[in-house]
């Protein structure tokens, strides 16, 4: 038999034409990477909770308590939706989910302040979402601190005579809070970059898994068709991988450039640095997908296997749940998935403006994973060819 000249090209063309004919794979290769990032970005596009409805129980009914309430209402975080006459009424509104917090100003609020004593204001928040508690607490504590400073300056320490002295009494030390890289403190800017990377890896796994399962079904359990081009394991692995690799490099660039631009997500990375990070990431993901998929015998099985992994993998990246609090065992589990390094490297380059040198650890790990998974895949194909040859002899 004459040896084909460029087996890689043959395998590449074969795989490409198979995929174009298969709508199941196309869904995961085109539709999912194109549409899913948009959908996710839209879900979180509002970034944070604004004007959360709360209700107020004002037992004090004085000018000062009304001033307090007005200021709370003026914050961007919450909106005073209703005033209730007693706590029971307020609680009922909370049970009906019409308000998500209660601000209770006690009867002796004003008197205590005049007497120079501390007055306690109660904030009861619904914990349906942790974010509710965060925004309510932030709004109320900011107002309280501002009022406290006014009281301190104007009423208690009446000896301040100049504006400068007043300012000093208000702020003996000034503090600056700087939220780096995500200045609005938004949800999208925090979650979406990691999700984008995960979509790449998961979609790749699904595509490769489907195409492998399909070969297995068609060629009686073999992952390669019994034709003459499929004799060289190296060529097969590279040829097949090239299809997915190129496609998902495109998708990766679409996500990191277009989606990021459209939704105003953090965008500090240089294009070529992002590409430099995507190459090992997509390569490692491709070979990992080829390796794991070789355990799949029916094409639908890969959906069962890969889909639900997405959520645990997101947590293992250490972006959504602080990496410093991930136990060592799970860190080890996370270290076999490229997404763990890919998400971190991408977040750093794109959101924090780090250079490739700053994330050389992640890049190095991704190249190592690429190497390991490539060798494993090669071995598997090598044995598959042996099996195929053995069978064709029997036939």
């Amino acid at each position: 038999m004459r040896k084909p000249k460029f087996p890689i090209i043959h395998v590449w063309l074969d795989e490409l034409s198979e995929i174009v004919k298969d709508e199941g794979i196309l869904i995961f290769m085109i539709l999912l990477p194109l549409a899913y990032p948009l959908l996710y970005a839209l879900i979180y596009d509002t970034e944070t909770q604004r004007e959360l409805p709360i209700c107020v129980v004002d037992d004090s009914m004085t000018g000062r308590s009304r001033d307090f309430i007005r200021r709370v209402d003026a914050t961007p975080e919450v909106e005073v939706a209703t005033h209730c006459t007693d706590m029971e009424q307020a609680r009922e509104l909370m049970r009906q989910r019409r308000v998500f917090g209660i601000l209770h100003i006690p009867r002796e609020f004003n008197e205590r302040l005049w007497r120079g004593q501390q007055a306690v204001v109660g904030l009861y928040s619904d914990l349906t979402s942790m974010l509710y508690y965060k925004v309510e607490y932030l709004a109320v504590i900011n107002v309280a601190q501002e009022l406290n400073r006014n009281i301190k300056v104007l009423e208690r320490q009446g000896d301040a005579t100049t504006a400068r002295e007043e300012s000093l009494a208000r702020w003996p030390i000034r503090f600056e809070e700087v939220k780096l890289y995500n200045s609005a403190g938004g949800f999208a800017a925090f979650l979406i970059p990691a999700v984008l990377m995960l979509i790449v890896q998961q979609a790749l796994c699904l595509c490769v898994g489907m195409s492998m399962g399909r070969s297995r079904e068609r060629f009686r359990g073999l992952v390669i068709p019994p034709t003459k081009h499929y004799k060289n394991a190296l060529a097969i692995v590279l040829g097949k991988a090239l299809v997915h690799f190129l496609m998902f490099m495109l998708m990766g660039i679409y996500m990191t450039v277009c989606v990021t631009h459209w939704f105003g997500l953090p965008n500090l990375g240089h294009f070529w640095e992002i590409v430099g990070m995507l190459v090992p990431y997509v390569a490692a993901s491709t070979f990992m997908a080829m390796f794991w998929s070789s355990f799949i015998f029916r094409r639908e099985d890969c959906i069962l296997l890969f889909v639900f992994m997405s959520i645990p993998l997101l947590f293992l990246t250490g972006v959504s749940w602080p990496g410093a609090s991930v136990p060592p065992f799970w860190k080890a589990v996370g270290s076999i998935f490229p997404s763990t390094y890919g998400a971190n490297a991408y977040v750093r380059i794109q959101c924090m403006g780090a250079s490739m040198g700053d994330c050389h650890f992640e890049l190095q790990r991704m190249w190592i994973l690429t190497g390991i998974y490539f060798l494993l895949t090669w071995l598997i194909y090598y044995f598959e060819i042996r099996k195929a040859v053995g069978r064709s002899v029997l036939d």
């Binding site: 302040l113 000034r174 700053d358």
Partner: protein, 380 residues
């Protein structure tokens, strides 16, 4: 039904998904959020001033719950680089001349930087540093007032006239595990249920057995659906109940309504997820792969739309409607109402009705299933 049990034996992957995976999730998330709230997060301290006053300040900072200064340096650049390498989440900076300015009443400025691309870590550190900064200022005023002979009660009345007493209802320790583990693990199980439901129906077509199934149940779709799914229902419900026991009995998460009630809602969630999976299959009758794709695309999205990390009320309106079609969202609403707050179920009866409705809905479209059994073959 017995046919379905036998089918289990032929599909090891199925058993893995049904048993091993959910238990794995349980283990992963309970160990991940063991501490409830992440503590001692790495941060850097840039002390450019380096006097005894600033050192005293840093000692106080070091005792805070969330902060752990792993780097102490004089150079801000060094700290920033560590942040870009991902080693730390926050920087506290005391500029040169702080002590001098404080002593001569020239309002020194200190700054803290948090890396908000790591949202949870940054929020926690920000809280600590804010508290710290507020207290540092107050401590200076307190020293002056004590020198003037005021009592501590008088001082507190001046320094902090209005005190906010926060009551996070139902979860007083702000334990993230209570909000997340408790919903992500059942949520993943619900995703598994959706997928396996469309998978098991799809397999009939794939193996060309759909006509046999039709004969077996005499064309009665209720019998076919119940027969095929009862084994699943029982297994998944037991799994859900196991979760309930681990969460509320072993880990002692708050459960104001009692475990039996939560078991009931868990059962309902299992049924609704099966209904959802079957509905997807009926939307693409006989096309196992399309049904499973739809299940997975929608099923993964329900984690975002359920509203336990990012609240539904903060999303655009169309997404608020979309959230209503997902079983996980309703399970979440019921969970908050029942286990966390212990209110009466009458406040969220709508969610209960929708869960039941999602379970029953496929019965209305059973004719599509029947039609597919007789006329449709497996399509690649």
């Amino acid at each position: 039904m017995m046919r379905e049990v036998r089918a289990f034996g032929r599909r090891p992957i199925f058993l893995m998904i049904m048993f091993v995976a959910p238990l794995g999730f349980l283990w992963l998330f309970t160990s991940l959020m063991d501490a409830g709230l992440p503590t001692k997060l790495p941060a850097a301290l840039v002390d450019e001033d380096d006097t005894h006053v600033t050192r005293q300040l840093t000692r106080i900072l070091g005792t805070m719950q969330e902060t752990n200064f792993v780097i102490t340096t004089k150079s801000f650049t060094e700290a920033r680089q560590a942040m870009q390498r991902g080693e730390i989440y926050a920087i506290f900076r005391i500029p040169k001349g702080t002590t001098e300015a404080a002593l001569t009443q020239r309002q020194p400025v200190m700054s803290f930087y948090t890396n908000d691309t790591y949202y949870i870590a940054a929020s926690l550190l920000m809280k600590d540093m804010r508290k710290m900064s507020e207290m540092a200022g107050l401590a200076m005023t307190r020293a002056v007032m004590r020198a003037k002979g005021k009592t501590d009660a008088q001082i507190m009345g001046t320094l902090q006239p209005i005190v906010i007493e926060a009551h996070p209802l139902g979860n007083p320790h702000l334990n993230y595990s209570v909000v997340l583990t408790n919903l992500i693990v059942p949520g993943l199980l619900m995703l598994v249920i959706m997928l396996t439901t469309s998978y098991t129906f799809g397999s009939e077509w794939k193996r060309g057995q759909q006509k046999k199934l039709y004969e077996l149940c005499d064309g009665n779709m209720v019998v076919a659906i119940l027969g095929k799914l009862t084994v699943h229902t029982v297994t998944f419900t037991l799994m859900m109940w196991l979760f309930d026991f681990v969460f509320y009995s072993y880990l002692e998460f708050p459960c104001a309504c009692g475990i039996p009630r939560m078991m009931l809602w868990g059962f309902l969630a299992v049924l609704a997820s099966q209904g959802f999976g079957l509905l997807m299959f009926e939307a693409f009758p006989g096309q196992m792969r399309m049904a499973m794709s739809a299940c997975s695309l929608l099923g993964v999205m329900q984690f975002s739309l359920a509203g336990f990390s990012f609240p539904v009320s903060a999303m655009y309106e169309p997404f608020q409607w979309l959230a209503d079609i997902f079983p996980l969202h309703h399970y979440f609403v019921i969970y908050v109402n029942q286990a966390l707050n212990g209110y009466s179920i009458s406040y969220v009866w709508g969610s209960v009705v929708i869960l039941i409705f999602i379970y029953l809905l496929p019965q209305f479209f059973a004719w599509r299933l029947k039609d597919a059994m007789l006329h449709k073959n497996y399509r690649e």
